[in-house]
Every structure is written in structure tokens, then in C-alpha cells.
């Protein structure tokens, strides 16, 4: 059942990605609509998978890379659907759904068996800490996608390449706004994830902070996004500069999430 739901999600996301990529090239509005409905269908199946996994494992299914990548992808798609509802920008799907598919594909490459739960993870903090962290990551992922769209649109305007894709991309203002909203949504979540992680660490390992690679890199990520938000609020960083910093922040965040787990040995190496 688990495998069926997971694979169905993967297939639907693959189809959605194809639809959205064709939409990028073809000026047909119906493609955008089809993409949206398929995304919604995929999201529901994906929710079904997550719920089923939760029931089978008996705990929040974010304890290894297979599960957490899947949850990361689910969060990206969920936030994308919320934004699409609010802003009605079909082309956002052309940038976000390939990312969601990629994350799912990587998730599929890790073992899907449900292992016995590591004693340190047996805590009520598991759900709080991981869900917050991944919702925050997803918000940053959307900000990353929107920032790429911003750079492309800005490039079109500067070089006067006002083709079909320029027409489909929303205004710079809206892109900047979405990016900013994602940051203001993601940053507090990341902050709380770090705080709840520290509290949990104290109960599990006896110390709030041990400069484990995960903790260190989380802090670096936190500082980058804090600087970006601070710059936006005080000196009014916006536009290209903010977009580039948001992309940089996302790359660091990915390293915090994947690089640390896979490359650096530490307390957080859950594979």
C-alpha cells in the first residue's frame, strides 16, 4: 500500500511536471489549469501516503531521508497550492513542480523500509521539530523558485526580450512580494525548529547545544535568512539583490539538510 501510494504520487508529479514544462513553451491557458488539477490530485495521494506511513510506523514519518524528503516535497506542493489559490500564477508550477518531483525522485532512491525508531527520536518533540523545520524549508524552496523567476523576468525587462514567457511571468512586484511572504513565513518556523530542537537535545542528549554539524549549519542558514530579512526591513533590499540572496540561502539550506546528513558525521546523520 505504501509503495503504491508513493509511486502513484511520483507518477502524478512526473506528469504534472511535463504539463507545466509544456505550458512554459506553449501559450495555452488550459495547460496551466490541467497542471493545477493534477497537482491537487497528486497532493491528495501524497497526503494519503504520509498518513498511511504514519499509521504503519506509529510515529511522525520524518525519521529518515526517504520520509523527510517526501515530507519536504509534500510541503512544497502544499504551499505552492496555497499560493496558486491566492495569486493565480500558473507559471509558478513550471518552476515549483519540477523541484517537488526532483525531491521525490531523490526520496525514492533511499530505503523505504520502516526501521525501528532510534531511541533518541522517541519524543513528542519529533513531530513539532521536524514538521516546523520542513515547512520552513518548503517556504524557502518556494522563495528560491520565485527568486529565479524574478531574475528571469528582470533579465527580460533589462534586455527587452518581451516574448511569450515574459508575458506569462507575473510582474516583478508580485514575485518580490511572494518571495518576501515566504521568507516571513519560513523564518519563524526555522527559528522555532531550532529552539525546539535545542530543548529536545537537552532531554535526549543532556545538552542544549553541542555544535554538532547539523546545529552549526542550521545556525548559518538562520543567519543568512536573518540577514536577508533584516536587509529587507531596514535598508529595503529588494529586487535582484534579495532574489540572489534568497537563492544563496536555499543552497545553504539544502546543504544543512542533505549535505550534513550524507557527508558530515554527527548526531543528526539519519539516512
Amino acid at each position: 500500500m505504501n509503495a503504491l501510494l508513493f509511486n502513484s504520487t511520483l507518477v502524478i508529479y512526473a506528469v504534472v511536471t511535463a504539463v507545466y514544462l509544456i505550458y512554459l513553451l506553449k501559450p495555452k491557458e488550459s495547460l496551466g489549469k490541467t497542471g493545477l488539477w493534477l497537482t491537487l490530485a497528486g497532493f491528495l495521494v501524497h497526503c494519503g501516503f504520509t498518513l498511511n506511513r504514519f499509521l504503519e510506523a506509529g510515529h511522525t514519518p520524518i525519521t529518515n531521508l526517504h520520509e523527510s524528503l517526501s515530507f519536504f516535497s509534500l510541503s512544497v506542493v502544499g504551499i505552492f497550492l496555497l499560493l496558486e489559490r491566492r495569486y493565480k500564477i500558473s507559471i509558478l508550477g513550471s518552476f515549483m513542480m519540477p523541484l517537488a518531483l526532483l525531491i521525490m525522485a531523490i526520496s525514492a532512491s533511499f530505503s523505504t523500509v520502516i526501521p525501528p525508531l532510534n531511541p533518541a527520536l522517541k519524543s513528542k518533540w519529533l513531530a513539532v521539530h521536524t514538521i516546523m523545520a520542513f515547512l520552513g524549508y518548503a517556504a524557502f524552496a518556494i522563495s528560491f523558485g520565485v527568486s529565479i523567476m524574478y531574475l528571469i523576468q528582470s533579465h527580460f525587462l533589462k534586455t527587452r526580450k518581451l516574448g511569450a514567457m515574459f508575458q506569462k511571468l507575473p510582474s516583478l512586484d508580485i514575485l518580490d512580494d511572494i518571495s518576501y511572504r515566504c521568507l516571513t513565513f519560513g523564518f519563524p518556523l526555522l527559528t522555532f525548529a531550532i529552539i525546539s530542537g535545542a530543548i529536545w537535545a537537552e532531554t535526549a542528549w543532556g545538552t542544549y547545544w553541542s555544535w554538532d554539524p547539523k546545529e552549526t549549519w542550521s545556525l548559518i542558514t538562520w543567519f543568512i535568512y536573518a540577514a536577508l530579512l533584516h536587509g529587507r526591513l531596514t535598508t529595503g533590499w529588494r529586487g535582484r539583490k534579495a532574489a540572489m540572496l534568497s537563492i544563496f540561502g536555499f543552497v545553504i539550506m539544502l546543504f544543512t539538510f542533505l549535505g550534513v546528513n550524507l557527508l558530515l558525521p554527527g548526531l543528526h546523520s539519519y539516512k
Binding site: 501559450p27 523576468q153 525587462l157 533589462k158 527587452r160 518581451l162 515574459f166 508575458q167 507575473p170 510582474s171 516583478l172 512586484d173 508580485i174 512580494d177 535598508t235 529595503g236 533590499w237 529588494r238 529586487g239 535582484r240 539583490k241
Partner: protein
Amino acid sequence: MNIIVVGLSHKTAAVEIREKVAFSPTQMEKPLNALVALPDITEAVIVSTCNRVEIYATTRDVAGGMARLKRFLADYHNFPLETLEKHLYSYHGEEATRHVFRVASSLDSMVVGEPQILGQIKTSYGYAAEFKSSGIILNRFLHKAFSVAKRVRTETKIASSAVSVAFAAVELAKKIFGELSDKTVLLIGAGEMCELAAKHFINVGVRGVMVTNRTYERAEKLAEEFDAKPVHFEALMDHLPKADIILSSTGAPHFIIHEKDMEEVLRRRKLKPMFFIDIAVPRDIDPKVNDVENCYLYTVDDLNGVVATNLEQRKVEAAKAEAIVEQEIGQFFKWLSSLDVTPTIVALRSHFDEIRKAELAKTLSNWKDLPPGADKKMDALTNAIMNKLLHHPTSLLKRTDQGSRNDLYVDALRHLFDLETPEQQESMMELED
């Protein structure tokens, strides 16, 4: 029954002529009633906009009907027919259909693709429906025109791009700022194109406009015209950070806005984007301003480029639209020709005859000891019954004095006895959507 169109448009008559023969939209009852009271005119719709005045009508006598409509247009407005006639065009049949489909789809408009005309025709049709001057043919004719226009709009991108420099500037601004309602426009100098662009920005609802000029009095005068705020030219750099959209067209021989000033301006407005439109020749704004973060500079050539691309694209779309129109004409004519009386009578008789013959054959084949010659008698009997039954409807259809009621009967008969080809039925269903 024939459809005829008589009228004039921006293509055939100057505005002085068009305004003299225009109909007031609030007083349509009188002319519409007068039109259907004309001999040989059974249905009529008047379309009167600032760019065209047209009468659509149905008649049995094409030449006579057209002459009557022309005479009506002249007499109703007390305008000499001899003067009016050379501005008038008239179409009938397929040409009339093509004309209306093209008009409704905005292919005949001054700015091809502008969307207003469809609404205007719908309003005109509304009056005709209200005062009952349109009947089965014009109803279907205009509904078909609406559906063609809808198809053109959804299947082509004819109305999606800006085709004037001022409009292109507004569209670009929207791609930078999104909403323009909280944006401020600064007008530097007073070129004609600059003023036009400023008017477009005011029309879409910018928050405020500032005007500056080397001579302050001129700035004041212009500001009054736009309900804007005059600004001293010497204080340009102080006001620049407050402006989001800058339209410049001074006669200055050198740049008045330099790249090096912009860093400071942007810093003062917290890096909020700025959109510069330099319409002056020689240019007012250093092209390097475009390289500054969050500054977007377009010259008049750039904007012309945008418009030219759009016009080119629109031409391609217009060709697609014409193809749609041609396709739909055929469908409409299939329906219209189905309203002809003679083919309907023939179809009705053969429909009844087929049933009669089939039933007769069935009965005779089951009848074992049939007396000789009985089959001939049976054939004559059933034929006589059929002729008696069909006598009244046939003679009613053949009467030519009942105008649009005749078309109604024909239409009803074709529906009741299923006399249409499947293809025609399909096109009818489409119309009813």
C-alpha cells in the same frame, strides 16, 4: 429569405458624415419600428457606434431592400442621399454574413482586436429584441456572430498585446510594478507623445503626477491640465526618488539624468524599482541608467519595437481569426438555406412518402391471398391520404405574404420531422449554447 447589410464606417466615411447619420442609443424604438414597417423588410437591427452605423435586415427582394434601407438612412436623418450614397457599403447573403462576423470579432475595427465593438453590437441587438424588430433569422444571425467573436477571442491572441507606444509603456509598467494605483509619475518636459503616455497612466489610475519643465510657467500650465503637481526643474534630483515612472521628453542637447546620480536616488527610495521612458531625441537619460540595479530604461525606439512586434503578432492572429470566420460562414449558411421553402416541402413530402412506402410494403408482404390489383389500389389510397394530410401545410408554406412567420414554420417543420442533416443539427446546437 435574404440577409442584407447597409452602412458606413470609419473606413468609408469621415467622422463629420458618421455623426450626422448616427442613431441615439436611447431612442431606438422609433427607427426600428419604422424599419420593419417598410415594405419587404421583415426584420431589422441597427448598430450605431462612433465608428460605424449599420442596418442589418432580412428581405425577399435584395436589390429593393437595399435601396429602401439607403433611402431610410438618408431620410431619417434629413441627409441628401446623393451625398450619403458614396460612403455607403451594402452586402447581402454570404458577404453580409462575413461582414458581421468580422465586425463582431473586431477584425473590421480601427484598432484590430479592440474588445468594445462586441459589447456595442450586443446592446444594439438588445434594443432590437426589446422592440421586437428582430426575428428568427437575425436572432440566430447575431447569436452566431457573438459565438464567432467568442471563438476568435478564445482561440487567437488578437486582443492580447499593446499596439500603441503609450499603451506599451503602461503594459511594461504593469510588468514591473504590478498595481499602478500607488505609483507616481514624473513628467519631464512636454513632448506630445509624453503627454499622451501621461494621459494613459492617469487613465489606468496612478496615484499622482508631477510635472517639471525648464520654464516653470510651462510646468504649471501642464500641471493644471493633468491635475498634477508642478516641480521646479532645478529641484529635479530631490523629486526623482519620489517618482516610480519617469517620462522624459525635453529638448535638452545632453543627458539630464545620469547613471552616477541614480545610485543615490535608489538608495533614498530603498531600492524600489524605477521605470524610465525616454521619448526625447537626442536622449535625456544616460543609457547606462538601465544597468543600475532595479532601474529599467526604455527609449522611444524600444517602445516602437514592442509595438511593432505586437502588431506583427496581431497580424498573424488576425489571419487565424479570418479563417475561423470563413469556417463559421459555411455553417450559418447551411442553416439559412435550410429555411428555403421549396427544399423543405420536397424534404417533407419525401419523408412522408418513405414512411408510407415502407409501411405499405410491410403490410402487402404479410397479406397472403391478396385479390389481383389490390396492391395498386392500396398504393393509390395511401398516397391520397398523404396528399390530403400535407395539403394545408404545403399551401401555407407556399404563401409568400407572411414574412418571418414563414421562416418560423420552416424551422419548426425541420425540427418536428427531423428533416435536417446531422451536420446542420450540430451547428444549431452550438448556436443555442
